[in-house]
């Protein structure tokens, strides 16, 4: 089969039977044990914690009898496997259980809080990628020039600064001293898009800055390497194609592969970032309740959050793998041959 035919879009029947689709199917199947593994591990970890939800809920004044009664009510007295099995069964029906703290269904809690976190992370990602691409392209256009040196300094700073420190500094400068952004709080998108963006800017910046730094370095290095080493670039230059066109249409597009893979890898770590940043800005997202849920042994809530993030991570990695395969035919055929 000619490579050219494979590269043309829209050949659905060929795509479905193609090595790419088989790759996707394999990866999807492989994702299931990963998800199971993650949820199982979380359950194990939460159960190893001393104390239990009933004691946490009832607080200091509770008698052992009261604690025991609540334990029965919350099914905490049943064995580990029974509880995990129940939860897993519920999961397959779309029921994530109810929070041990207040009895609210986990799906409701997630429904309220996930959009906030999702918007925050989306904002952070978009900002970091846009700025990274912009700066990397400028830097790569004139290696060791002004933009390049600037990019190196800025990205080194971003890699080395701790997000929580950055958040504190941002609040102090932009919310207290120059009152451009709010220090705390979240305004829903439906209420006011402008206020919504404003309320998320500082937290998104705190998360985005380290990401932006890594992406910039990666992109810049990759583009420069391509510009200097790849034969096709030499050919293009010889043909008289303008430098900017080479840079953006060819080098950048190829470099984006590496970037996409990296983004997929990042997502898991972002739970931690979100758990630190959201409380600092009093944003009502999932990060804000993650820590208190763990401390309160609110296993259903913790599991709910873990499942959502794990699914997103796995899907994202799957997507990037597929994208990689779709855009780079060599991968598809290498895999098929392997």
């Amino acid at each position: 089969m000619a490579v050219a035919e494979e590269l043309s879009a829209g050949k659905a029947s060929r795509v479905l039977g193609s090595p790419g689709a088989r790759l996707a199917g394999r990866r999807l199947l492989a994702a299931i044990p990963v998800l199971l593994g993650v949820t199982f591990l979380t359950y194990v970890v939460m159960n190893l914690l001393p104390g239990d939800a009933a004691q946490e809920l009832l607080g200091a004044n509770a008698t052992p009898a009261e604690v025991h009664q609540l334990e029965i009510q919350l099914h905490l007295n049943e064995s580990f496997w029974v509880r995990y099995g129940n939860w897993l069964g519920g999961l397959l029906h779309g029921n994530l259980g109810t929070s041990l703290s207040g009895g609210e269904p986990v799906t409701t809690i997630l429904g309220q809080r996930l959009p906030v976190t999702a918007e925050l992370l989306l904002y952070a990602f978009v900002a970091s990628i846009v700025f990274a691409v912009g700066l990397a392209v400028l830097a790569a256009r004139w290696p060791n020039g002004l933009a390049d040196r600037f990019s190196m300094v800025v990205s080194m700073t971003g890699l080395s600064v701790a997000p929580y420190v950055l958040a504190l500094v941002l609040i102090y400068v932009f919310a207290v001293k120059i009152q451009v952004f709010p220090a705390i709080g979240y305004v829903p998108l439906t209420q006011s898009p402008v206020a919504n963006i404003r309320s998320l800017t500082l937290p998104a910046a705190a998360i985005a800055f380290p990401l932006f730094s890594v992406y910039t370095r990666l992109l810049r290095a990759d583009i420069v390497e391509q510009m200097q080493r790849e034969d096709y670039i030499v050919t293009a230059r010889a043909k008289g194609v303008r430098p900017w066109r080479i840079l953006i249409r060819h080098a950048l597009r190829n470099s984006l592969f590496g970037l996409i893979t990296l983004i997929g890898l990042n997502l898991g770590a972002l739970v931690g970032a979100v758990a630190i940043i959201e409380p600092i800005f009093s944003l009502p997202g999932v990060g804000a309740i993650l820590i208190s849920s763990i401390t309160n042994h609110d296993v259903p809530v913790v599991e709910g959050i873990v499942v959502v993030f794990a699914v997103v991570v796995v899907l994202a990695n799957l997507l990037t793998d597929l994208l990689y395969a779709a855009l780079d035919p060599r991968i598809r055929y290498e895999r098929a041959a392997a």
Binding site: A30, P33, V34, L35, G37, V38, L41, T42, V45, M46, L48, L49, P50, M156, T157, L159, S160, V161, A162, P163, Y164, V165, L168, Y172, V176, I207, P210, L211, V214, R217, L218, A221, E225, Q228, R229, G258, T261, L262, L265, N266, G268, A269, L270, V271, G272, A273, A275, I276, L290, I291, I294, T295, V302, I305, V306, F309, A310, V313, V314, N317
Partner: protein, 293 residues
């Protein structure tokens, strides 16, 4: 906790030929010497200074000296709200940062490196199994585990090291595996196999020395990440227990009085920043150097 796994930053092929360039040896040496020297300076200060030159103890300060500003007599950086000398807390806190950073990275390097190397070289079922395990660890929210360990076992330096090692292992695993995979296809490997080299010897004599430079430079970046993560754990109150100092917990404590005593946050932040920058610069410089050899 958003510092990602920078394995992609490394050159895609270990033995790909690089264009020859005029060797700017002196520039390169400086690039290694300056951050390296800075790191040694900071580490020496943290570990050696208190032994040689007396500083006030980092805990148990007298409350009569609470809240002194920097450059007060006897307290270079001032004191915190219960009277502990900040300079001494920076030094002792730095010890914790270095210890945790290097321990976590060492564990990741050894265990993760081994796992990844074996998986990459052998391929097949072993590779698939190892990759699944690493996938689970990567998808697993780091924070939950770290919190659980801190809660369950109680906060301490050792437990922080364990908790963070769970994440350095898969990171090194992926890097080692990617590097080993690339090596597998090289001609010299084929030659070695034809010559009769088997398994362990292959790993030890051929693969390991060739992926070492990548792993080492990755390590230096990893130390920086580990230090920031330790700071994050301490910031959440789950790392080094109070009143023992750690740069992260100092930042967390200082956060409560940012408006009144900003130096409590700024000074440990500055040290944290400079140390991680030095580590990153050193890692970059070494990578540049070894890439040419």
């Amino acid at each position: 906790m958003s510092a990602p796994l920078p394995d992609i930053l490394l050159p895609p092929e270990v033995t790909a030929p690089k264009p020859l360039r005029a060797r700017r040896t002196r520039g390169k040496t400086l690039k290694i010497a300056i951050p390296g020297g800075l790191l040694i300076l900071i580490a020496a200060a943290c570990f050696v200074w208190p032994l040689v030159y007396p500083v006030p103890k980092p805990v148990g300060g007298s409350i009569l000296d609470a809240g002194l500003p920097p450059f007060s007599p006897g307290h270079l950086f001032g004191t915190d709200p219960v009277g502990n000398d900040i300079f001494s807390r920076i030094l002792y806190g730095g010890r914790v940062s270095f210890e945790v950073g290097f321990a976590v990275t060492a564990i990741g390097l050894v265990i993760g490196g081994l796992l990844g190397m074996v998986a990459g070289y052998w391929g097949g079922g072993v590779d698939a199994a190892v990759m699944r395990v690493l996938d689970v660890l990567i998808a697993f929210p780091a924070l939950v585990l770290a919190l659980a360990i801190a809660e369950g076992l109680g906060p301490s330096e050792l437990h922080v090291i364990w908790a963070l090692s769970v994440f350095s292992i898969p990171a090194f695993g992926r890097v080692a595996r990617a590097a080993a995979l690339t090596l597998r296809g090289q001609t010299f490997m084929l030659a070695a196999r034809l010559a009769g080299t088997r398994g362990g010897r292959m790993l030890a004599r051929h693969i390991l020395p060739n992926i070492m430079p990548q792993l080492l430079t990755f390590s230096l970046l990893g130390v920086g990440v580990a230090i920031i993560l330790e700071g994050a754990l301490s910031f959440l109150g789950l790392g080094i227990p109070l009143p023992e100092p750690s740069w992260g917990s100092m930042i967390a404590q200082g956060q409560g009085t940012l408006s009144t005593q900003p130096e409590l946050v700024l000074i440990p932040s500055a040290f944290l920043f400079v140390t991680v920058v030095a580590l990153n610069l050193l890692g970059d410089a070494l990578r540049e150097r070894w890439a040419i050899t």
